[in-house]
Symmetry: C2
Subunit: 320 residues, 2 copies
């Protein structure tokens, strides 16, 4: 299987990790995808795995000349939809950093391109493969909490100093789609429900001079069967904190409650003797899953339908 | 100071605890306040403290004949506003179980009666006196987290089997005002802001045959200065849990984050070395505070204005 890489801005590390376990997948081309980005950083990320690859400044030319089976995209956020569409139109399977689109118009165009292509498409929703979140999800899937009724998700990040493309809505997309999309994805994934309505607020106040970047946000979702979910999102985690992010979820069901906090998983239900800790673990790898799905071996944890749905629910606020 | 007691349904225990420290306050009259309730239960609650009191079936008659200085009210929820108004019109200071009204119409009437009286009025917002929440609030007040930007409050209760008046909106008021009012009060109290908008959802689904009682609810508040707050409310806490309730708050500020969980208080800011635990403790008593406020000695943690505001923000959903 022949793979091209476009862009250095997101989690191309998922691809690197997956490639180490899949020698049959070969990187044939690399492009920074944007004049603003340095291809040296990208080739550095891939190291030995990218040694035989050709480097292109124009990713479209790369797709035309190398005709890859798969492409992994993590360019400027506002270019994702266009990059995906270019690949989809050429019949290439697409693994793309989220958000896959930063406007609803772009998302619609992308959706159309996907519908006309006969390929696999998925976003880098790597959080589904996090050991703690994956273990919690398995517990929910296996019935440990009965039917899901209420979810509280949290994303809290350190702000630090961010590059200029975070400062403008046009190149950043917004804090809800960028940081919050994971929380929104968990809500979709854990509940198994469909989003019916979204109410959300966000503000750029107290963002420590980061232009339009929103420092705090709150979302309120109603899913099918009157399941409710909150997503609390902020960049206000103190610099002294042990980790960059403080990711949490609390999933309340008819028979119990499961929680993830600090990478640990806690369960209480009518069979447990109070709160018990579950072992965190996943055993799956996001890019390997994507490739195996292309090869017809097993299903990945996130598919194109869910990618579109989560992007839409997390992106409805920032359209012109 | 002469005190009358009306009603046995709420936290009259706050008054009992306060009286033990204030021998100058004497219980002169006791009324169940409703034909549905047993005055024996109420006199039992007060024990020796109520031994000299006269027992009335008609609380209005009691107020007329005994002319008390203070009344403590915890009757049927839908009678609270009426009971308070009867006392306020007679110039009696009122300490009332929350919610002080179950419809906006009643709340308005109550507000008018208060404005025309020259007495003290407060709701039994006992959670402000909880050792952990009080310690967390002091940390916020003292600047440990800078300016408050985002709050996530949680109320999670065991359902068990509830008496019939919980089953009907008319006699229960709703889960948001009954269970959620504490969370809403914390949000008002910790943030120091004013409520600007409220968006909320609730459902009676999966309430284990409890009629109209809502088993899950979620509120999204916007306060002044774009401060956001969520309140997650449920009756889905498993019976095996160690405590009846799982009360939490997370308060995110510009300089740090304070949290209450399991009766413990955690703080992180730019001066702490990671997360540190604060000592829980209050040292104040809600009914003693109320009486001392009447006597002109110090301010209580909640006053009439905040009582009205919190009731309104937590009650806007269930008006006819």
């Amino acid at each position: 299987m022949r793979l091209c890489i476009i862009g250095s801005r997101g989690h191309q590390g998922y691809v690197v990790d997956g490639l180490r376990e899949m020698p049959s997948v070969r990187v044939v081309g690399i492009s920074a995808g944007s004049e603003d980005d340095d291809v040296g950083e990208l080739t550095g990320t891939f190291g030995d795995l990218g040694r035989g690859a050709e480097v292109y400044s124009d990713y479209r030319l790369m797709l035309d000349e190398l005709d890859p089976d798969v492409v992994s995209i993590a360019g400027p956020l506002e270019e994702h939809a266009r990059m995906c569409i270019e690949a989809l139109r050429r019949g290439v399977h697409v693994f793309c950093e989220k958000p896959v689109a930063t406007t609803l118009k772009d998302l619609k165009r992308l959706r159309n391109a996907y519908d006309e292509a006969d390929v696999r498409f998925a976003a880098m929703m790597g959080m589904r493969y996090d050991p703690a979140f994956h273990a919690a999800w398995r517990a929910v899937r296996d019935g440990a909490i009965g039917r899901v009724r209420l979810l509280n998700a949290q994303k809290s990040y350190k702000l630090g100093r961010r590059p200029g493309y975070y400062w403008r809505r046009g190149t950043y997309g917004g804090t809800i789609p960028w940081v919050g999309s994971h929380a929104i994805d968990w809500i979709r994934w854990f509940s198994g429900g469909r989003f019916k309505t979204v109410y959300a607020t966000h503000t750029a106040r107290f963002n420590n001079d980061h232009g339009e970047l929103e420092a705090s946000a709150l979302c309120h979702f109603t899913l099918t069967d009157d399941v409710y979910a909150s997503a609390s999102i902020d960049y206000l985690r103190p610099a002294t904190a042990a980790t960059h992010g403080d990711d949490r979820i609390r999933v309340v069901g008819t028979k119990g409650i499961v929680e993830v906090r600090k990478g640990r998983v806690f369960l209480i239900n009518n069979e447990t003797n109070g709160v018990v800790e579950l072992e965190a673990g996943c055993g799956r790898q996001i890019f390997r899953d994507f490739v195996e799905q292309i090869e017809g071996r097993g299903a990945a944890l996130i598919d194109a339908e869910e990618t579109f749905e989560v992007t839409e629910s997390g992106g409805s606020w920032y359209d012109g």
